[in-house]
């Protein structure tokens, strides 16, 4: 028999911390910085207390595999339905598509031409109403710094440094950056102007980094996540 020798109690605590950290490291709810921290902790615990940790990991893997083994046919059905639901949602869901492109264009600085061909790493958002400390995030992007008070001369400075610059509508209370998954639309910034109109700026990666204003609309249907940035 290859029985493992008994271990001191403190190792159980280490194993608990390690297991919790591992869960934290893979949990989607946890921000990236925390995830890295959790992951490192889990690795440390794995080194310190390999027996307990490995045993637990093995057991949980067995439990999950048993679950899949018993219900694989049902999980396949559910996965197919969920996948179809996701596709339908992405295709037919409410995209808050602007109806009046002209209105928005009149409100937004035309900068598409200036941005063509730039190596985009950081998006700088110039907002007249945003606080200097505001930061918004987008998946796979550096934090976006919101500059207080838009200034055309500064805009040129940023452009000359290779930054991607977007400016929201005058009087906009807040802005946010979102990543889109559908079609060419990869990156967008939504704003509400002073009259509560919804304005969307889209960055189309396949168009060599153009910022495209796609318009505004009356918020008759207000999206449930109005001013969030997702990460």
């Amino acid at each position: 028999m290859n029985e493992l020798p008994p271990e001191p109690v403190w190792k159980r605590y280490v194993a608990n911390i390690g297991t919790g950290s591992l869960i934290g490291a893979v949990a989607p709810a946890v921000p990236t910085a925390f995830r890295i921290g959790f992951g490192v902790t889990a690795l440390v615990c794995l080194v310190i207390d390999s027996q307990w940790f490995r045993r637990r990991l093995k057991t949980i893997a067995q439990t999950v595999s048993e679950f899949v083994r018993h219900f694989w046919w049902l999980l396949l059905v559910l996965l197919a339905i969920t996948g179809t639901g996701g596709a339908v949602w992405r295709h037919f869901g409410n995209r808050s598509t602007p109806k009046s492109i002209v209105d928005a264009r009149t409100n937004v600085l035309q900068i598409q031409r200036s941005l063509t061909g730039k190596d985009i790493r950081t998006l700088w958002v110039l907002s007249k109403d945003a606080r200097p400390t505001d930061r918004v995030y987008a998946r796979g992007w550096e934090p976006v710094v919101v500059e207080h008070r838009a200034d055309p001369s500064r805009l040129k400075t940023y452009l000359s440094k290779g930054k991607v610059v977007a400016e929201d509508v005058p009087g906009s209370p807040s802005g946010f950056i979102r990543k889109y998954y559908r079609g060419k639309c990869m990156f967008a910034s939504d704003y509400f102007d002073s009259e509560g109109r919804f304005v969307l700026l889209e960055y189309d990666e396949n168009c060599n980094g153009k910022l495209v204003v796609i318009g505004s609309e009356s918020p008759s249907f207000f999206p449930p996540f109005p001013v969030f940035s997702y990460h």
Binding site: A29, F67, R131, D190, P219, V227, F228
Partner: protein, 490 residues
């Protein structure tokens, strides 16, 4: 040939397909992150299961097992009253009045508490004890089976809180001795809560008639049902033929059902009621919930060969019910930390946004609302029904972390300690309720830190956020005026 009980599964798939495909485009903007979509699908999965069960029951007539129309005095029956430091004096006093002539009564006492042992010894029944508690309840019954099992045709398993009618055994035997039921090894009864004097157990069990109504229409359409573990009659030969109870699992009832199915037997429901006690307070309730959740995870490691698809679906439903406890903290964490936001401009916060948030939070209420006419027809008032639903939701928020932890431990450790449900009354204070689940405090503080950097989200999550925050208060409130009661069973 489709399996019996396949209709519910087909209806579930249909309901889920309709809900999962049509709801997200109506409710979610495509810009919403994928995890919100997945969470919505998870809610819809639970709703579809509930709907399928309710709709199938609504169109199905009652289905009882065939039974003889006369008493059957010949079979010998042992009534096993199982105690493990949790004797309930009312139940003990109600034992020993069975009208069936060939009934013997055994108290299988696994208690370590001397006071409980003395209480059991004082009762005029034959007491069987063993040297250790190996195999928990399964081990206890197997011990009795080895000593006395061969002398009885049937044995009735009662828990320490079971109270059955005097003709319970006699009635069960009419089912058991019917020639059509030869392959039935376990005859399960319908539960009825008897300790309804206290508001907490009364409200917790208020929906039992609804569950019984549905079970009477659905259970016997399945190839077999899972044994309920107590208040059920077992055919001794069948249980011995499959090697007795499986001592490796805390859920000895499900494990036995699996063995019986492999041995060619079934477990069935009969239209007889038997009394059981609901936990007197939330601590005991949560403890039981934790154990049930953990043993549901544990039983996944059992041998499920030969088990039909529809029965596996029933098991999946049960597993999903407990897995959904992860939904509460996960949603809260994702809402708080999964995004960033600044406070919305007053002009942008429309009433439709609030209405939308309420709508999403209301989705799980759909099956609950559909059951209201049924509740009324079964004599349950709307007020009581609503209170019961709120109590269960409050308990779910209150116990979410510990139930999740119990499942994780069961998934990671392989084995977990069997915790007997506390049957005693005890004093309930708001401070003890909060202190008992103190880990909710750092959890909510962590959420608060997330919401500090995500200022807009609490507005769209106001419904569940408020509910989660006041859950301990609601739980306290539902204990009613008896919450100050002392330990009467000591």
């Amino acid at each position: 040939m489709l399996e019996r009980g396949f209709a519910e599964f087909v209806l579930f798939v249909t309901c889920f397909a309709v809900l999962a495909i049509f709801t997200p485009p109506l409710l979610l903007p495509t810009s919403a992150p994928i995890w919100i979509f997945l969470l919505l699908e998870s809610i819809l999965l639970g709703v579809a299961m509930d709907l399928a069960q309710l709709l199938t029951a609504a169109v199905s007539p009652e289905r009882d097992l065939p039974k003889l129309d006369h008493p059957v005095p010949e079979p010998s029956v042992a009534v096993l009253f199982l105690v493990c430091d949790d004797v309930v004096p009312e139940a003990l006093a109600a034992l020993g009045h069975q009208t069936h002539p060939r009934t013997d009564l055994f108290v299988l006492d696994d208690s370590g508490d001397r006071r409980v042992q003395a209480l059991v010894d004082a009762a005029p029944f034959r007491v069987v004890r063993r040297l250790d508690r190996t195999g928990n309840k399964a081990g206890n019954i197997n011990h009795w089976l080895r000593l006395h099992g061969g002398r009885y045709d049937y044995f009735l398993v009662l828990d320490s809180d079971s109270i059955v009618s005097d003709d319970f055994v006699e009635q069960l035997l009419r089912y058991a001795e019917h020639p059509s039921n030869r392959d039935v090894a376990v005859f399960n009864s319908l539960p009825v809560c008897w300790n309804t004097a206290s508001p907490f157990p009364r409200l917790a069990a208020i929906c039992t008639p609804i569950h019984n109504w549905m079970r009477l229409r659905l259970a016997n359409r399945l190839p077999s049902i899972f044994s309920t573990g107590h208040n059920n009659l077992h055919r001794t030969l069948a249980v011995l033929a499959v090697g007795g109870f499986d001592e490796r699992f805390v859920a000895e009832d499900i494990a036995l059902t699996l063995r019986l199915i492999r041995g060619g037997y079934t477990s069935r429901l009969v239209n007889l009621t038997a009394g059981e006690a609901e936990p007197e307070h939330v601590f005991s309730h949560v403890r039981r919930l934790e154990r049930w959740a953990a043993q549901t995870i544990e039983i996944l490691r059992a041998d499920w060969r030969s088990v039909s698809l529809v029965l596996r679906y029933q098991m999946f439903r049960q597993t999903w019910f407990y897995l959904m406890f992860f939904f509460y903290p996960l949603t809260a964490l994702l809402a708080a930390w999964g995004m960033r936001s600044t406070a919305p401009h007053p002009g942008t916060l429309s009433s439709s946004a609030i209405a939308f948030a309420v709508l999403i939070a209301s989705i799980p209420l759909i099956p609950a609302l559909l059951k209201i006419p049924l509740a009324l027809s079964l004599g349950i008032s709307v007020a009581d029904y609503a209170k019961s639903r709120i109590l269960w939701a409050s308990i779910a928020w209150y116990a979410m972390l510990s139930v999740c932890a119990a499942q994780l431990v069961a998934a990671m450790d392989g084995t977990f300690a069997f915790a007997v449900t506390d049957k005693r009354k005890r004093g309930i204070h708001l401070t003890t309720i909060v202190a008992h689940h103190w880990h909710l405090i750092p959890f909510w503080l962590f959420l608060a830190a997330g919401f500090y950097r995500n200022t807009a989200h609490p507005l769209s999550s106001v419904v569940w956020l408020t509910f989660g925050c006041i859950a301990p208060l609601l739980v306290y409130w539902f204990h009613g005026t008896t919450r100050e009661a002392g330990d009467v069973a000591q």
